[in-house]
Every structure is written in C-alpha cells, then in structure tokens.
Amino acid sequence: MYNNYKLLFGGKNVKIVEVKNLKKYYKDVKAVDGISFDIEEGSIFALLGPNGAGKTTTVEILEGLRKRDSGEVKLFGETVDDIPKEMKKRIGVQLQKSAFFNYLTVGETLSLFRELYGRGYKVREISEIVHLVDKEKSLVKNLSGGQLQRLALGVALINDPELIFLDEPTTGLDPQARRMVWGIIKDLKDKGKTIFLTTHYMEEAEYLADVVCIIDHGKIVEMGRPEEIIRRSGLKTVIEMETIEDFVVEGAEKLDANKYRLIVNDPERVLPEILKSGKVSNVMIRKPNLEDVFLKLTGHSLRD
C-alpha cells in the first residue's frame, strides 16, 4: 500500500533513504515485517509507534548495527549491506542507548568523535548548537539525563552529516529539555539535513515531522503528513472526561483510574447525553491527533 508513497512535503525530491520490503524476524517474533518507505533529502521522517513496534530494529538495520533477513536498503542511492566507512562519514547517529566514556569531559568526547570521523565541526561550534558550552569541561559522569541526550545529539552532529538517525532522542527528558532538543532538530532541518527520527511521543512526531510513518507489530499501519493522516482517519472530535465512581462511558477508552477518552464523529449528539448523566467532570473537547488515529487503527494506545 505504501511502497510507492510519494513525498510532497518540502523535500528536494532526492531520495536519501529507500527501504523496500524490509524484514527482520527473531524466532517467532516478527520485529520488522515487510516495511517500505522512502525519505527525501532535507525532510524529517518520523517512525512512530509504541515500545516493541520495531522502530529501533528498523533504524539499527539502516545504521548497519543489525543484519536484515530480507528486503532492500538504499542509502544515498546505493544498496548497502555493510555500510562503507566513507558513507558512515556522511551519517550521524544518536542511538537510543549509548553511553560515552565516564571519565572524559564533554569537550574531549566531542573531540574524540571528530577525530574518528576525520571531518566536521569544531568542538565549540557543536557545544553551541547543543547548548553545552558551559559543560565542555565537565566529566560525562557528572552530566544530567538531558545533558547526556544533548551530548549524544552533539556527537551525532560532530561530523556535519547529511543524514541523521535519531532514535528516541527525547525519551526520559523533562518537557523543558524535550523542547530544547526539538528546537535543535528544527534548526537542523533548516540547515538542509535529512533526519530519520523514531519516537513514541505523538506530539513530537506531529511537531517535528514532515512525514510520519506509524508502525505497530513490525508493520506500517499509516504513513503521510500528520494532518493528512488525521484527515484520512475520518476522526472529527475527541472528548476526554473524568468520571465519578462506578460510571462507565460506553465506547470510551480508559486512560487512567477514572479518566476516559471518547472519539466521535457527532459530538453535538453525544456530548449532551454524557453531560446529562451528571457523573462526569472536567470534560474537554479537542481535535483528534496522531495518538487517536493510532488508537483507531490498532485498537490500543501508543503508551501500551
């Protein structure tokens, strides 16, 4: 269905990444089950899905850390099995989990990776981009979670890459730190970088991505511009509410102990009925988002 999906989202019509019918199985688990997509130069592509959907497996195959069982992967127009060193110099990678050397400073870590790539920005330039100038002399072991994520991002950018893989770059960060990372990623797009992002944060994909690819159980369930995906889903309105004890809203998804979400196409009919029960409070009506679409398509939440 999505094999020939055409991107029309401000890219430069040059395909940097081409993936065709990619498969990776572990015994009985189909981690990646025949997915296909293209990424155009200068765009942000987000692979969105819950934990265990196959996002990291996919990105690690593209990065060369895992072998695929079948399918084709093209980077910069070349079919690749083992990514050659010269091509690695054009790629930046932020892994989901990657520790650096505890007893090196931020500046030394950036300098080390710059030497490994043999090209790229000066340490100070990257420190400025990822807002770590005042931490350049701090040991890695003394950094906070947010600072570590920004260091990982800095290392991913040190070689001035054309293609950047970011695997859940904001997981575990507080909202302020997350916003800071989003700002950095937006700036990278403005500089013409192509970004492959995996995330399980709906709002992150919606805010950053030109193209969102929703994945679940190793298969693509939807792909396109965020607003198009929502429009295609046919969802119109989402009602969220808190209920008083023992009251169950029919057809609603339970979000929390007594918090429910109801997706409807005719709010003008449903809302009065809910309010009439007198057993709901904090009722909120909003437009549907990608998480609502995901729920509709898969029957479960992104957080499950």
Binding site: E63, F101, Y117
Partner: protein, 379 residues
C-alpha cells in the same frame, strides 16, 4: 594508525588516569604486593623462625667433619640427622623430610689434612663435599645456601680452635651453580607475571565488556572506526598502562631490592612481551566467549587465581599430586615464569618453554577470530 593511537590515549585517560580504581590495581597494587611479600618472606631468608633439616652421610668416620657438625648441633635453627647410606638420606630429601643432604667422602680427613698443609705453602687444594638439595623447593635452596656459607666459616674456626694454624683458609668445592638465594629477587618475576596477567584477565576483558554492556561499542561501530581498530586501541591502551606499571616495578626492584640488571636483558624483556601477547589474547578470548560482565568476572578471577597459585609464583607446586599438577603443566604462566627466573640465574626445571605458551596463543587467536563479532556485541 593515527586514529588508533589517539583513541588509545583517550582510553588511557578514561581508564587509568582519571579512574582511581584502574590506576590502583595496575600501577600501585603490584608495588604494594611486592613490598608485602618481601616483608613477610624476606624474614625467612634471614633465618627467623626457621629450622633447616640437614642430613649428613659419612662414607667413613670423619673426625674433622664431626667436629664441624658438633658446632652446628648447638644451634636451634639446625635439625641435623646422621645417615649411614646416601640413598636413605636422598629418599628423605625427595620426600621433603630433609632440606639438604651433605655427603662426606671417605677420604675427607686425609684431603682436609693435605689441604691444610698445602695451605701453609700458599697452595690450595679443594676438599670434595657433595651437597644435595632440591632447587625447586624454596626451603631446600635456602638451606643449601646457609650450609654453604656456614661450612666456609666453620672450617676456619675449627683450625683456629686446634691452635695450629691461624690464617688457614680451605675452600670446599660445591657442585652447584645456583646463585645466592634472595626472596626479593626470587619474587620479582612473579610480580611481573602477576601484573601481566592482571592486564590480560581483568583490564582488557573488563574494558571491552563494560563498554559493550553500556553500548559504547555500538556508538563506535556506527562511526568509521571499525571493530579491529577498537580492539587494537584497547590493547595498546593496556600495553601503555603495563609499560608504566613495569617501569615502576623495575625501578622499585632495582633501587630498593638490588634486583640484578639481567632483568633489563633482551631475553627477559622478550619473555615479558610474549606474556603480554598471550594474556591479551586470553583476555580477548574470554570476552568473545562470554557476554555478561558478571560471568567474565567469575571466569577471569578463577583462571587468574589458578594460574597464579599453580604457576610456581610464590611456592613450589611441582611436588603436588597429579590431580593438581596437570594444571601446572598446561599453565602458560609456569613456563614464562620459569624462563624469567632462569634468565635471572635460578634453576630452570622445565625444558620446553615455548610449546604450551604458543599453544595458548594459537588457541586464543583462533577462538577470537571465530567469535570476532561477539567481542563488539553486534550481529
């Protein structure tokens, strides 16, 4: 190559300069252990709280030698037993019931008298005394040295007491080439080997496993820095640490314990290099076979202790039962250490010093090659 060198230096900074535990175990612990061992066992060489069991075999009654022995019998440090037959005494020596056996030839008295008479004319004659000892046994070697020095002193004293010749000096012929025993010298190659083994069993596998477990290696693999370059860097980094550690150890040995300069000879250094290569590969072999750092810790510690205590490091293990002794003979440390001690002038009791160490080297290279990708923790 420049990348590898630079990366090694960054690793060295991370693993040894700024991490105290790394520098302690490699730079300071060997020095402390050397100090402790020489403090504890150095006393033995000085004769404190030790009894030497000496067997004396007279082929024929010897008035002169019995006079000498009577002086020794008064000392607590000597347990002197007399035997009629040499075989009987040697059996006791082999069974570790004696430390040294002195065989007094039937012509001892006449030879001794001739020697004294000739000494008057300033001519010298050697008097044959056979001393049997087991060089592999520390206490036997020490007893031999003590007996040798006492004999030299006693013979002068005897003739002084006879009142005939005051300045007579008679030399005994001792059929041995072993140098005077010194615990600090004897332990020196053992501490060198222990340091090399620490690098092989702990520093190299821990360094790789820790980076693998924390996923640092995966980050390196997506850069243009390959697995081979990473492993080479880890080895170089640890060789640099070993070089510094051995420099400190050599300095301490030579300055404080007067360890002979032969430890700077090419033969001694080559054995050290061979040990470094073998134990680096054994370390890589462990990390290529075992994934979890906790399991690596168990295996490394077990092998390290076994190879150290069953490698003739600190005491003789060659007189143990075959149930244990087989490991001594397949232990590469036994051979390298024996060669190191042989270079220093101690008796070498093994003939082929290369076969077993090279077998380990080849085996570990083979296993590392087959499991190479597992070293970095990737598919």
């Amino acid at each position: 190559m420049k990348k590898i060198l630079r990366f090694s230096l960054y690793l060295f900074l991370n693993d040894y300069i700024r991490d105290f535990s790394g520098s302690f175990w490699i730079f300071f612990f060997p020095l402390i252990l050397y100090l402790i061992l020489t403090s504890i066992f150095g006393g033995i060489a000085e004769g404190e709280n030790v009894t030497f069991r000496i067997g004396v075999v007279y082929e024929e009654k010897s008035t002169a030698f019995e006079k000498m022995v009577s002086h020794l019998k008064g000392e607590k440090v000597f347990d002197i037993r007399e035997y009629r037959k040499v075989d009987e005494a040697l059996k006791q020596l082999k069974e570790s019931k004696l430390d040294v056996v002195i065989f007094v030839d039937k012509n001892f008295d006449s030879s001794f008298t001739k020697a004294i008479l000739l000494a008057k004319t300033k001519m010298k004659l050697t008097v044959p005394i056979d001393i049997y000892y087991v060089p592999e046994r520390t206490e036997s070697s020490m007893a031999k040295d003590v007996v040798k020095s006492i004999l030299k002193t006693m013979e002068v004293e005897i003739w002084r007491s006879f009142g005939n010749f005051k300045d007579v000096k008679v030399e005994s012929s001792l059929e041995e080439k072993t140098k005077k025993f010194n615990m600090a010298h004897y332990y020196f190659p053992a501490i060198v080997m222990m340091t090399i083994m620490s690098i092989g069993f702990f520093s190299i596998p821990y360094s790789i496993a820790e980076k693998r477990e924390r996923k640092s290696t995966r980050r390196l693999l997506v850069s243009p820095f390959g697995s081979g370059e990473f492993i080479l860097s880890v080895i170089l980094n640890n060789f640099l640490a070993l070089l510094i550690s051995l420099t400190l150890l050599f300095s301490m040995g030579m300055l404080f314990y007067r360890v002979p300069k032969v430890i700077l000879s090419s033969q001694f250094i080559l054995q050290i290099i061979l040990g470094m290569l073998i134990y680096s590969m054994i370390g890589l072999m462990i990390v290529s076979l075992v994934k979890r750092i906790s399991t690596i810790s168990i295996i490394s510690n077990s092998l390290f202790q076994a190879m150290m205590f069953l490698g003739n490091f600190y005491f003789n293990v060659l007189n143990m039962s075959w149930g244990i002794r087989w490991f001594v003979y397949i232990n590469p440390a036994t051979y390298i250490l024996d060669k190191l001690r042989g270079t220093m002038g101690y008796n070498s009791y093994l003939s082929n010093h290369l076969l077993v160490p090279f077998a380990w080297l080849v085996l570990s290279i083979l296993i590392v090659t087959l499991n190479f990708k597992r070293v970095m923790g990737v598919e």
